[in-house]
Symmetry: C2
Subunit: 165 residues, 2 copies
Amino acid sequence: MRLTTKGRFAVTAMLDLAISEVSSEGALKPVTLAGISERQDISLSYLEQLFSRLRRQGLVSSVRGPGGGYNLAKEKADISVSAIISAVDEDIDATQCGGKEDCHGTDGRCMTHDLWATLNFKILDYLSGVSLADMVDSQQDCDVEKVVFAARKSCDSNEEAVING
Amino acid sequence: MRLTTKGRFAVTAMLDLAISEVSSEGALKPVTLAGISERQDISLSYLEQLFSRLRRQGLVSSVRGPGGGYNLAKEKADISVSAIISAVDEDIDATQCGGKEDCHGTDGRCMTHDLWATLNFKILDYLSGVSLADMVDSQQDCDVEKVVFAARKSCDSNEEAVING
DNA sequence: TAATAATTGACTAAATTACTAGGTTATTAT
DNA sequence: ATAATAACCTAGTAATTTAGTCAATTATTA
C-alpha cells in the first residue's frame, strides 16, 4: 500500500464517476474523461493513464465513440478505496532484502521488516472496508462545508482524534 | 497523510530504536544511527535527515558524543505511527484549488475534494491509534515467519481480508 | 587531547509523478 | 460514406520527491 497524490487523483476521479453516472433518468450514462478532467482539474492524458489501469483491474468499463465514456464495472458498494489505490499505485517495496531466506533471524533487521509488513497489511485491510458507496452516502448526511473548514471533523467519526500526536 | 517508502524507513527505524534501546539492565541506552543503519540497511545520512525531523517533532531525544545516540522522547505507547509518518512526510496537498472560497458549490469538483479530505482524515485517525508499543507487543505473541510467508495473515486481525477487492 | 557521534548544509543520482504531444481505433450521427 | 466523438496507445519530458554522498562543525566522553 502506497498513498500519494496519484492515488488521490484516482479516488477523486472514481468518486466523480460514481456521482456523475447517475443521470436524471434511471439509466447509467457513460461519463467522459474530458468531463472528469474539467470538473476535477486533472489533465486528460493523465486520467487516460489512470483509467487504463482501472479498466484492466476490472473497476470500470468503457464505451467507445460518441456518447461513450466510462461506467463503474461493479456496484459502488463493491469498489473499495484500497482497490482503486492498488490499481494505480505500485505496491510499496516491502523489504530491502526481498524475501530471501537468509534474512529471518531474530536480529533487529527482519523483526522490524515483519512488523512493517503487518502494519502495511492492516492499513490495506482498513481501506478495503471503505467503499465508494460509503463515501458517497456519508456525504449526503453531512454539511460538506464543515468538513473542510471546521477543523476537519469527520462526518461519521465524531470524536476529536489527535493529529500529529 | 502520505504513505511512501520514506515513511516506511522512518517507522522501521523507530521500531528498531524502540527494540534496541532496551538494554540488558533496566536503563535505556542511546542507540546510534550507525547501528540502525547497519541493522536496517538504511544509509546513515538518510537516517540523519529523518531523525533531524523526528527530533524537531519531539519524538526522539539525542545524546551527543561517545556513548551517545538517540532515545525515544516519549513512552512507546504515546508514539503513534501517524506521528512518525507525519514528521518525515510533507502532508499530501489536499486540493487543486487550495482552500479558495470560490470553489464550494455543489458541483462535482469540491464535493469530491471534500470526500477525499474526509477519507484522508479517517486514515490519519486510524493510524494515530496504532502505537510503537502496539507493534512491538504484537510481535511477541506471533510467529514472525508466518506473517511474511503465510499469505500475510495479520497477527491480531485473524480474519481473511479481501485484498485488491 | 583524541575519539565519538550528533548536527548542519550543499549538492547529486535515481525514481516517481504529472503532464504533453501525436497518433489509432471503434462507434455514432449526419 | 463521412465526420465527429471519445476511448486507447506510445513516447517523451518537466517537475518533484526520494535516497544518497560529501564535507564540514559541535558537543561530549574517555
